[in-house]
Symmetry: C2
Subunit: 273 residues, 2 copies
């Protein structure tokens, strides 16, 4: 299958600045990068994303995927990220039609933590069917949480970023992306899954971020039936998870967690030692 | 001065759902509300915000203020929030002109954690002059952090929200808003300041959220010279704070903090006991 041509333009994740602490001591402190990246689709300016820049090509692809601006990865000829101009130029094989119409609808529905296409997303929710057969054993959840805890991360160095992981049914981490925006981190994983032609049905999704409506919808759109977060959830995240039959676990850290929805996939049992 | 007519349509902040913990026990768990609120300006649909709904009228006003869609609070005749239709109808005295042009520019610059008008915001940064004379004593910072810690909050009950506080020079909390989106919480404070005709020059701003570019820009736009966060910061937040001369403190919790920029306003000294 033809894959798009991609640059490989990850930026350094952190810079170190000097701060002064409560004892008046100078403390060299790593802080997370944040850079504007303006996305052009067939030379049409779409959006400026503020990003850590760890996976800019995947971010751009996942953004186009999740915003439904491009239907298939095969439609995309190239993604060229250029930090001299803070731009990502995406070219399609056919040339993008209907962008004007898509963008005009986008204007009025931009929302969600002031984020994405709420109206369209909610329409999608009704069409999503997640696979019923997936299972998550309690011991596997513990393995996943331990893998996340031990994963090298920018968060440990610099804070101020959110992380997302795509995990196999075994709890093994397959992809891990951090970004200054939690939506960017999810989008970058969606882009990597698109590139690798990975389906979500036998996977789990982990995020450090809160389980708001948009996070739940994006997980369901990726076809992933199990969503785990270190943080809490919102009422609408809860409702949508119930509606699409997602297994959703919040406040998962160390040995603790709360299972909120989709109990049918969860298998309580002895923990591996 | 004429003030707009406002509804008073705050929603209950939390609902309680049942979750199952790691010991298999059912745990009644409060979760934060999250509701779509579609903003109409003189009947023109502008945006759908996902909000906790604690201060919807102030949120809508602050959104219009920070997005530069309305120039003055005196231009606004009424804000009517109606949760039957999840809508906020804003009417202006003169009728809004130029909205189409403003909105078309908005489309292409939407960004910032997939949030706001990045291009326009950065243009504003060059024009901001913060007052030099403000001072923050170390003991006052401790008072503010203690006030925040003791403040009743939805976060303590349900997590999954970000809080913002506007504080007086004494460290007293004047306004406190929580929302599921950290940008919404800031916007709601901006709306409340607009309504109360409060200037920012002798105030401090506290947020639980990260100090990204947009948070720093919005604080500077409100004319507030001192910004404090429990969380970390990004490279662009740091750069813009330096550029506008903002006093910025991160990782502020308990007795600890890191002073990053604007040292000239900070007065180290003995802590009150």
């Amino acid at each position: 299958m033809p894959r798009p041509q991609l640059t490989d333009s990850a930026r350094p994740a952190t810079v170190t600045v000097s701060a002064v602490n409560e004892r008046g001591e100078a403390v060299p402190t790593p802080i997370a990068g944040e850079h504007p990246l303006t996305l052009y689709l067939d030379k049409r300016e779409i959006v400026t994303l503020m990003t850590l820049g760890a996976a800019p090509e995947a971010l751009v692809l996942g953004y186009l995927r999740n915003q439904r601006l491009v239907a298939s990865i095969e439609d995309i000829a190239a993604v060229q990220v250029d930090w001299e101009t803070d731009s990502a130029a995406v070219t399609t094989h056919a040339g993008s039609r209907d962008i004007e119409e898509l963008m005009s609808r986008r204007t009025v529905t931009t929302g969600c933590g002031q984020g994405t296409m709420f109206g369209d997303l909610m329409e999608d929710v009704g069409r999503i069917a997640l696979p019923e057969e997936g299972r998550l054993e309690q011991a596997t959840l513990a393995v996943l949480l331990d893998n996340v805890r031990r994963h090298e991360s920018i968060y440990k160095q610099a804070g101020a970023v959110h992380g997302c992981a795509l995990a196999a049914a075994s709890g093994e981490i397959l992809m891990f992306v951090e970004d200054v925006g939690r939506h960017n981190a999810v989008d970058a994983i969606a882009g990597q899954m698109w590139l690798a032609d990975l389906a979500g049905g036998d996977k789990m999704f982990y995020t450090t971020g809160r389980l708001t409506s948009e996070m739940v919808i994006k997980t369901a759109q990726m076809g992933i039936p199990i969503l785990i977060s270190r943080s809490g959830l919102t009422q609408m995240g809860y409702s949508i998870a119930q509606q699409v039959g997602l297994t959703m676990i919040g406040r998962a850290q160390g040995k603790h967690y709360l299972l909120f929805t989709g109990h049918q996939r969860f298998v309580a049992g002895p923990l591996h030692e």
